[in-house]
């Protein structure tokens, strides 16, 4: 089991929020040591999927195997142990607002290791250098731009060199240069440290350029998966629509709703 090629195996997962089903019978495998991308329309449940993997949400049925442990069966204590092997970049960044950028990145290191302050300093500055924010170490999150905050959060999520890093929209709000830097950073971290990465993103080109394997989720399940090369040549209408960004097609752009005309004229 431990030597399995997949660090995560999600099988027959069902999850719903209130009465609305988000996932129905989704199956997904994340190969170890690779960059796996998850793409899909907004609101389809990509963030939810990452939270399910992190054990913050409980599915109604199905299993999520992470490195041999079934996340869905873990109690609180086991969960905290498993999470030490994960890093997550939140969509909003989620920096601690009452600490400086430096302390934000030092925080997980201070909490989970007994390293001396001088070593911590070196690690933090290295991580900040990697995301191009070493000069901003003393600033507070409120003094950062959205893109900078995201890069700082990225530095924090890799602070402890976890086995698995989940990036929720790492490219959002980045200019082309820092976008390029982050794309390379994700790739390099993955290869140099032998990590596994999951990247959630809408930026089709960037994702296809770094991912080893891609899943496209829609309609409560995986609608296509394969290497970027395979997906480019995918003939399914849904995939073509998503990859080329066409509003009309089998993938609904709208949140599930009643008929538009009916809704508008109903209350007239």
């Amino acid at each position: 089991m431990i030597s399995s090629d997949n660090i995560i195996e999600i099988s027959n997962l069902h999850f719903s929020r209130e009465e609305r089903a988000i996932y129905q019978d989704i199956n997904l495998k994340v190969p170890r040591g690779k960059v796996t991308a998850i793409m899909g329309p907004s609101g389809i449940g990509k963030t939810t999927l990452l939270r399910l993997i992190g054990g913050q949400l409980k599915p109604s049925s199905g299993a999520i195997e992470f490195d041999g442990d079934d996340i869905t069966q873990c109690n609180r204590k086991q969960l905290y142990k498993v999470r030490r092997k994960m890093g997550m970049l939140f969509q909003s960044g989620a920096l601690f607002t009452e600490m400086s950028v430096f302390d934000n990145i030092a925080f997980p290191i201070r909490e989970h290791t007994d390293l001396s302050e001088s070593i911590i300093r070196k690690i933090v500055l290295m991580k900040l250098e990697a995301v191009g924010l070493r000069g901003a170490a003393k600033l507070f999150p409120s003094e950062l731009s959205g893109g900078m905050a995201r890069r700082a959060a990225l530095a924090r999520s890799i602070a402890l060199d976890p086995e698995l890093i989940m990036y929720d929209e790492p490219f959002a709000g980045q200019d082309p240069i820092s976008m390029g830097v982050i794309v390379r950073l994700i790739r390099e971290l993955n290869d140099a440290l032998g990590l596994t990465s999951i990247v959630v993103s809408h930026d089709v080109e960037e994702v296809l350029s770094i991912a080893d394997y891609v899943y496209i989720v829609a309609n409560k399940t995986v609608i296509a998966h394969g290497t970027p090369e395979q997906l480019r040549h995918e003939s399914s209408e849904q995939v073509i629509q998503f990859m080329q960004g066409k509003p009309d097609g089998p993938v609904p752009f709208h949140f599930p709703s009643d008929d538009y005309k009916k809704d508008i004229f109903n209350n007239a």
Partner: protein
């Protein structure tokens, strides 16, 4: 019609009970010895600063004025019986038994409690709590526990400061302004105020209020709907519910202690 009402009653009941359950779990989680005492100390100091030190000014100013008003009102009543010598007793007992614990708890709920709720609600809404969890750090230990202890330590001290300043304010008006004999002011007070009966009981009251207010504030923040509207609602309800809890509990405690 009746059916609907019953249904909504049932739903409210269930909401209430699950809410209480979550609040209980929050308290237990925050108090469970985490085996990281030393790491908690800096967090506790910081929270003592925010919850305690920053409430000091409003407590001192209010204490002073309430003591002065008590003295003024008391004097006009007592002088009618020629009993203005008992002014010190009246001021001290009202402050120690009632006004000190109750008013400082109310001010604390408005000043520190609402801030705690808003802060934690915001931490929830911008995913700071989630990201703590994902870093394998329990937000109950990291965020809730230090705030809880800071509240429990701060309020009784604030309330003692309130009463002390209030008595000084009473002295200021009664003795320095209205001319009650200073010896009588203190000695009648000293003869009637009891360490156990008045000061310890007042302290117990404010300890109970501290637990309740801090607990409500933290629970409301932790349970807030993570939107700006949800947080503002949670903040309001912290102040309202804490105030009601303070007044209700004050009656119960008074009945138990002095009844």
């Amino acid at each position: 019609m009746l059916d609907k009402r019953l249904q909504s009653l049932g739903r409210h009941g269930v909401d209430f009970i699950t809410g209480a359950g979550r609040a209980g779990a929050l308290l237990i989680g925050a108090l469970k010895p985490a085996g990281r005492g030393l790491k908690l100390l800096p967090l506790l100091i910081k929270q003592l600063y925010i919850v305690g030190v920053q409430s000091l000014i409003i407590i001192v100013v209010s204490g002073l004025f309430i003591g002065m008003v008590l003295s003024l009102q008391g004097y006009t009543i007592l002088v009618g019986y020629g009993a203005e010598q008992s002014l010190g007793q009246m001021v001290a007992l009202s402050l120690l038994r009632e006004l000190g614990p109750v008013v400082s708890a109310l001010l604390f709920a408005g000043r520190a409690g609402s801030a705690l709720t808003a802060e934690i609600g915001l931490m929830k809404s911008n995913e700071q709590l989630s990201s703590l969890e994902m870093m394998a750090i329990d937000p109950l230990h990291q965020v809730i526990a230090p705030r809880f202890w800071a509240g429990i330590i701060s309020l009784p001290l604030l309330s003692a400061i309130f009463s002390t300043v209030g008595i000084l304010g009473g002295h200021l008006v009664g003795v320095d302004w209205l001319g009650v004999d200073t010896g009588a002011f203190w000695s009648v007070m000293q003869a009637s105020v009891e360490w156990q009966e008045d000061i310890v009981n007042g302290g117990i009251k404010s300890l109970v209020f501290a637990v309740v207010v801090t607990w409500i504030a933290l629970h409301k923040g932790y349970d807030a709907v993570p939107t700006s509207e949800g947080i503002s609602k949670a903040t309001t309800s912290t102040v309202v519910q804490s105030s009601l809890a303070i007044l209700g509990l004050d009656f119960v405690l008074t009945a138990l202690m002095f009844g």
